[in-house]
Amino acid sequence: MQRLLSSIYKELLVLIRDKAGLAILFIMPLVLILIMTVIQDATFRTVKEVNISMILVNNDKDSLGEAISEGLYASEFFQIVEEIDEKEITEEMAKELVAKGDYKLGIIIPERATDAIRGNVNALINKSFKSFNIAGVKKRTKKSTIDVTIFIDPATSQSFKNMVMSSLKEFTSQLEIEMFFKNFSEALTQLMPDQKPIKFESFETIKYKEVYASTTNDEILPNSVQHNVPAWTMFAMFFIVLPLAGNIIKERDDGSAFRLKTMPGSFITVMFSKIFVFLSVSFLQFILMLLVGVYIMPTLGLPQLEIGPHKIALGVMAIASGLAATGYGVAIGTIATTHEQAATFGAVSIIIFAALGGIWVPVYVMPHAVKIISQFSPLHWGLNGFYDIFLRGGDLWVIAAEAGKLLIFFALMLFIAIVYNNYNKTK
C-alpha cells in the first residue's frame, strides 16, 4: 500500500512538473472543443439562414403534392416560390428560371401523381387478394411511374442534390405506405365483414408508426454541441497517449525504469499507478469538457449540452474510454524506443482513429466501406456510447456493448505491453 501510494504520488509530481504535458492534457482539449463547436455551429447556421430559393410547381394538387410542399415549407431551408406576378409557374418557366440561375432548384410534381401512387398501391393489394376476388377493388396490372422532375442549378454541390433527392423519395414512399395501409385495411374489411373495425385500426396504427419511426432516423441526429462535446472529449482523452507514452519512455531513458526493475514488485506497482493517475486525468478532462458543454457553450450562443438522466452510465463510459486511452498509451510507451516514434505514431494513429470514428465527419454520412472500418476505432465506440446517453437517454444496459469493447481494448493493450516487456527481457 505504501509502495502504491508513494508511486502514485511520484507520478503526480512528475505530471505536475511537466508543463508541456499538462498543456496537451488540459488546454488543448478546451481550445479544440470550443473552436470546433463554434465553427460547426456557424456552418450549420449559414445553411439555415441562406434560405435557398426554389420553385415549386405543384400540378398534382393531391396528397403527394401536399405532402411534399408541406415538407419543404416546414424545413425552413428554402424560400419557396410558386407564383410569379400572380400567375402559377409552369414547368417550362421553371426550367428556364433555374437554368438562368435565378433559382437554385425547381421541383415539378406532375399531374395525377397521387393517383398513380394510389393505382400502384391498389395493384399491389389486388395482387395479394387475387384469390379472394374482392369486389370494389379495381383491377390494374400495369405499374405506373411517377416522374417528379427536379431542375438543379449545376453549380450546387453533390451533397445538396443528394439531400433533395432523398427527401423527395422519402415523401413519396411515406405516402405510398400510408395509402397502402388505408386501402389494405379497407380490403380486409371487405374480406371479413364480421370483424369489428376497431381491431384493424389498432393494427394499422401500430404498423404505421413503426414504419414511420424507421424512415425518420435523422430525428435523433446530434446537434453541434451534442456531437462536439463527446467527440472532442474522446479525442482529448486519447491524446493522453502522448504524455503517458512520453512518461514511460522518459522513465526508461532516465534509467529509473532500470532501477525499478531491480526492486521488488515494482513494475506492476508503477504501471498500476501510471494507469491510475492518467485515468484520473482523463476523468478530469471529461468533467471539464462536460462543464464547458453545460455552462460555457450557452454563453457563446451555442445550444446547451443536455446530460440526460443516466449519470452512472455516463461515468462508466468516461472510465471505460479513459482506460482504453491509458492502455493504448502504456502499449505505445512500452514498444516505442524514442519519444519521436511514440509521438509520431501516437498522434497519427489517434487522428486516424478519430477520422474513422466520426470525430470530424459523423460516421452515418461515410461511405459503406469506411463505415465498416469505423467499427474498429475505439473513438467510435466511445462516441457511440456518449450518443446513446446524450441523444437517446441510454442507461447502463444500452452502453454496455460499447463500454465492453473499450474495456477489452484496454485489456488487450496491457496484454501486448506485458508480453512485449517479457520478450524484451530475453534480448
Binding site: R3, S6, S7, V14, R17, D254, L260
Partner: protein, 252 residues
C-alpha cells in the same frame, strides 16, 4: 543448497546480445564470498555492465546459471530483489523531482517507511555533503552530485548485497574518497559489495578480491596483492592487464 560461504555464484555464464554473434561475456565462472568487496575490472566493453545486469536480474544469460544467496531468478526473483541494492552506471533518477523526493520514492519502493526512512535519507545526504541540496530538483545538479544521489538511492535500505557499476566515474577525488569510505563502513556491517571499475589503482586498495576481464573473458582472478606478487614483471593491476593483453587499459 550450498554448504560454502559463496553468496554469489556465476556458472559458465555466457551472454549474446540480440543480433550480435560476439558474446558480451563468454563462459564466465566466479564465486563471491559473503562479506567481500569484489571488483570486476576491465576496460570499456569488457562485459562488466552485462555481468552486473544479469546479477541484478535485468535479463537472463544466454546460457549458464547465477545463484544469489542460493537462489535463482527463474524461481525466486522477488526474494532476490529484496536483498540486493543496485547503483547503476548511468544515473537512474527522476530529473524533475528533488533529491529528497527521489530518495523517498525509492526508499518506499524498498519497503522503508516513515520516520526511519526520513532519518536514513538525512543521514545519507549529510554523509555525502548534500544536505543543503535536498530540496533541489535533480536536473539542476552537477554530474558529481547526481552520482552521489544515484549511489544513495541504491544503498538506502542497507541491502545484503550491493552492486555498484562504476560508481566513481566523473566524481572528484574528495567525493570519491567519501564514497569509498562509506562503502567500506557498510561492508564492515556485513554487506557484500560487487563493484566494477576501470580505475585499477582504486580497486587495488578497495577490493578484497578482483577479476580482471577483457572482451567477455576473465584474464585473471584473486586478491590484488597476490596477483601483483605472482610475477616479477607485475608492478600493479594495471601492468597485469598490459602484460596479458599487450594493450593499455585506459582509453581516456
Amino acid at each position: 543448497m550450498q554448504e560454502n560461504n559463496h553468496i554469489i555464484e556465476l556458472k559458465y555464464l555466457t551472454k549474446y546480445y540480440k543480433g550480435s554473434n560476439v558474446p558480451a561475456i563468454d563462459n564466465i565462472s566466479l564465486n563471491i564470498n559473503k562479506g567481500e568487496i569484489y571488483g570486476l575490472l576491465g576496460p570499456n566493453g569488457a562485459g562488466k555492465t552485462t555481468t552486473i545486469s544479469i546479477l541484478c536480474g535485468l535479463f537472463g544469460p544466454t546460457s549458464g546459471n547465477v545463484f544469489i544467496d542460493g537462489m535463482e531468478y527463474q524461481h525466486s526473483a522477488e526474494k532476490i530483489k529484496n536483498i540486493i541494492g543496485v547503483v547503476p552506471q548511468d544515473i537512474a533518477l527522476y530529473p524533475s523531482l528533488t533529491a529528497k523526493e527521489n530518495l523517498t520514492f525509492f526508499g518506499h519502493m524498498y519497503g522503508l517507511k516513515g520516520k526511519h526512512l526520513k532519518t536514513r535519507i538525512e543521514e545519507c545526504l549529510e554523509l555525502f555533503g548534500l544536505e543543503k541540496n535536498a530540496n533541489r530538483r535533480i536536473k539542476t545538479f552537477s554530474g558529481g552530485m547526481k552520482r552521489r544521489i544515484n549511489l544513495i538511492a541504491g544503498i538506502l535500505h542497507k541491502p545484503k548485497i550491493i552492486y555498484l557499476d562504476e560508481p566513481t566515474v566523473g566524481v572528484d577525488v574528495q567525493s570519491r574518497n567519501v564514497i569509498l569510505d562509506h562503502l567500506r563502513s557498510i561492508n564492515k556491517e556485513g554487506t557484500t559489495i560487487i563493484y566494477t571499475s576501470h580505475y585499477m589503482e582504486e580497486a587495488e586498495n578497495f577490493c578484497s578480491r578482483v577479476a580482471i576481464i577483457d572482451k567477455g573473458n576473465i584474464l585473471t582472478e584473486g586478491k590484488p596483492k597476490d596477483l601483483v606478487n605472482s610475477k616479477e614483471e607485475y608492478i600493479d593491476l594495471e601492468s597485469i592487464f598490459l602484460n596479458i593483453t599487450g594493450r593499455a587499459l585506459r582509453d581516456e
